[in-house]
Subunit: 103 residues, 2 copies
């Protein structure tokens, strides 16, 4: 999941969420060089976030549905954990109140 921590990579994913893109199209969308884009795509590819197919001399990238669903589920688990922590804190504070009241 660390593959998505980078801002540019998130931007690439967002761009691909709207539709498939070639490398050059992505390059024109971001203010960094083509090799930099290619490396981000490589990271995303190895993480299973995107897939690519060669069409002539062009290479089209698209999101991987299965992995994207996994990420969505991961985000849900993440949210649940934070809610659990928040709840635990609330309980902890309540206990403190009880303790104080008991005295």
């Amino acid at each position: 999941m660390a593959a998505l921590a980078d801002g540019t990579r998130m931007g690439i994913v967002e761009a691909l969420a709207a539709g498939d893109r070639t490398v050059n199209e992505l390059v024109s969308l971001f203010p960094i060089s083509q090799p930099a884009i290619s490396r981000h795509l490589r990271v995303l590819r190895e993480a299973g976030v995107v897939e690519s197919k060669a069409i002539g001399k062009v290479r089209v990238y698209q999101l991987n549905a299965a992995t994207l669903r996994d990420v969505s589920e991961w985000a849900d688990r993440c949210r649940q954990q934070w809610e659990a922590r928040f709840d635990a804190l609330g309980k902890h504070l309540d206990e403190l109140k009880e303790t104080r009241r008991a005295r």
Copy 2:
């Protein structure tokens, strides 16, 4: 929110979710030096994730309820965005299918 990206910092937050701790208690919980813990605590403090109060020569750290709720809400928004992306991808794939069928 980047304050929570670090693994050790997440561990500290988890430890504090179970109850307040002094710096030394936290140090004994992790395999890194006391200055390292203190710096993590500083990052968390400046991000508003934790608070500390000096009690004698000891300093007790605790989670900040308000910020923790913010994080929980952020996680929820994060999840929603990923679900939206996933949905967008599904729609995109459907459109492709339509296009193909139309031919």
